[in-house]
Structure formats: structure tokens, C-alpha cells
Subunit: 173 residues, 2 copies
Amino acid sequence: MARDTGSVKSPLPFDPIRAAQQTWVARGWDQAASGMALVTSLMRAHQIVLARVEEVLRPLDLTFSRYELLMLLEFSQAGSLPLSKVGTRLQVHPASVTNAVDRLEQQGLVRRVPHPTDRRATLAELTDAGRMLAAEATKALNDKVFTAPGLPTAKGDQLVRLLRDLRHDAGDF
Amino acid sequence: MARDTGSVKSPLPFDPIRAAQQTWVARGWDQAASGMALVTSLMRAHQIVLARVEEVLRPLDLTFSRYELLMLLEFSQAGSLPLSKVGTRLQVHPASVTNAVDRLEQQGLVRRVPHPTDRRATLAELTDAGRMLAAEATKALNDKVFTAPGLPTAKGDQLVRLLRDLRHDAGDF
DNA sequence: GTCCGACCTTTTGACATCAAAGTAATTCCC
DNA sequence: GGGAATTACTTTGATGTCAAAAGGTCGGAC
């Protein structure tokens, strides 16, 4: 019968990224070895952190993308934004915004409202339930993830600085 | 008619993560502000880097997950591995392995072969075409991404070290 | 020997993401 | 004014990921 198999738990006895980097050097790709390690590390770290976040949000019937959208609205003065603005701010595809708002609307956390002056546009507006759930989710994330993100504060802040450099170099903000 | 809209290009005039961190502090969530910035930075950096990688792989009809699977087989001595082993090494769900192998098989890059001794297991085996495409893809990634991943080598290596700490703390290897 | 738990893969269903194309509304500019 | 280019949102289709459950196989305990 079905058992768990689960999303992989067994820790490997070595660092696969370190091993791959050595392989890259061994094949003469010295110039790329470091960058390969950077890219791969980022992928894996993202996977780990996202899993922790989604685990906390799951009991609240939220995913990280939907949580982000809720918080974006929460932080906007009016509690509502045009969908296009949402896409720009969260840096996601317009179709993803449509999809996320569809689901949030089904959950009663957000409401579509016509834009007061531009008839092309639609606003996503937080409902009371949405505002409350956002607060609850934030508390859970603060307590269970953000307070202990996996690195001591000094290292964490350094990581944030390096990632900011990377983002800035890539043309983010 | 359809235009581009594209996957968001406009750079914001400020760092949204820095802003969010200040908001966190302003709301009294000091202990979590740093961790929130770390998690969010990771998400965004991942998004940026993955987009660069997939852009390079797209002309070769590969995605990063399928490329990873190809390289895992390439690096295995026999050029073949049981699907379960693939899942463990790449840290992905069994269903994702099945899906990726399905597609690679359709593309003629990989072949399913019965395990010689364990009749429960199936091996994914690299075809000649798969081996060649993997080499081509690696060359493209080395040239266009890994050689200039977005940070100078010193900072990049430091980033890799910090991410290794994070991964190790999370129970990876 | 047989049986039951553990393991291997697949299938199905829920989400998320992007690309491409369609519809509607707005703005630019001659 | 009026048509072309632009902008806003939605729809559809292809990928990828995880969770849960089903079917087959192995292997050690009794």
C-alpha cells in the first residue's frame, strides 16, 4: 500500500555541489566552476527555504505566492491595487496574477473591483477575511521561519547583502 | 493583437526587500525582519538566475530540471541510474522524476531500461543523443551564465559558502 | 515457506509559472 | 477626429512540483 516516500529526506554523506564543482574543474571548465556552484547553491537553498515556508502556510490554505499577493495589498495604503501593478511589484507574469487572484477570490480573501478611472483595469481588493488571514500567516511565518531562517543574524545579513548585489547587477531595482 | 507584456522588465526605483524589512521593523517584528529579508532575497535571486539559465537552455529544448537529470546520468559511471536514485540525488519528488524521464524519453535523450537485478526498479539510461545534447547545453551554460553569474568571483564564492552553511544547517548533506 | 512491512514507480489531482494569442479600452499623434 | 500602437486582463496550452494512493516486488521475521 501507499506509504510515504515523501519529499526526500535522506541527507547525503557529502556535499553534491562541492563535488560537482570539483568535476567542473577536472574537466577544464575552471572559469565556470565557481559560477556553476553559485547557481546550483541558489537553486537548492531556494528549494529548502520555500519548503519550510509552504509547510507553515499549508494549514492556512495559502501558498507563498498567494501570501505575497495578500501582503502586497496589505501594505498598499488602500488595500487594493491594479492587477498590472501587482505583476510589476511581484515580478510575475500577468497570467500568474490572474490565476492567483482567481484563487484568492474563490477563498474570499480578495475581491475584484473595477478601476475607478481606467476601464481597462481591475483592482484586487483585500477583504476583511483576507486582511485577517494575512496577519495570521505573517505571525506564523515570523514565529516559525523568519525568526530562525537557518543562519545566525550576522551571516544572514551578509547573505542578504550579497544577494542584493546580485539582484542589483541583474537590473532589479 | 497580442503584444509582448513579457515577463516583467521594468526595474523598480528602490529595493522592495529593503523596504519590506523596514516595514517589518516598523511593525515591531524586529526579530523576524532579518530572516524575512533573507527568505525574500533568496526567492527573488532564484527567480532571476533560473530565468537566465532557462533562457540559454530553451533553444536546446531543455529545462533546468531536465538538464540536471541529464548531467546526473552523465556523471554516473554507467550513464544510467535507478529512478529512485535520481530522486534522492536531485532531491525531487518521485513523481517529478517520472515526469522528467517521460519527457526526456520522448525527446530520445534517455531510455528506460529494466534494472538487472531488482525487478521493482527501472534505470534511466543516457542515449548518445542525450550525451551530446548534455555536452552542448553545458557549453552554452558555461559560456553564457556560469562564467559571469552576476557577482565577482570573490563575492560569488562567499555566497556559495554562506549558502552551504544554510544547506548544511537544514540537513542537506 | 509465508507474510507483512518497506521500497520502486506510476497515476491522478491541485497549484504555480510562462508563452502566445485574443478581447477590450486608452493614448498617442498626424 | 481617427487610426495605430500601447496597455490591461483573460484564456489556453505546456512544464514542473508535491501529495496521496495504487500496484508490483523484495526481504527479513516467524
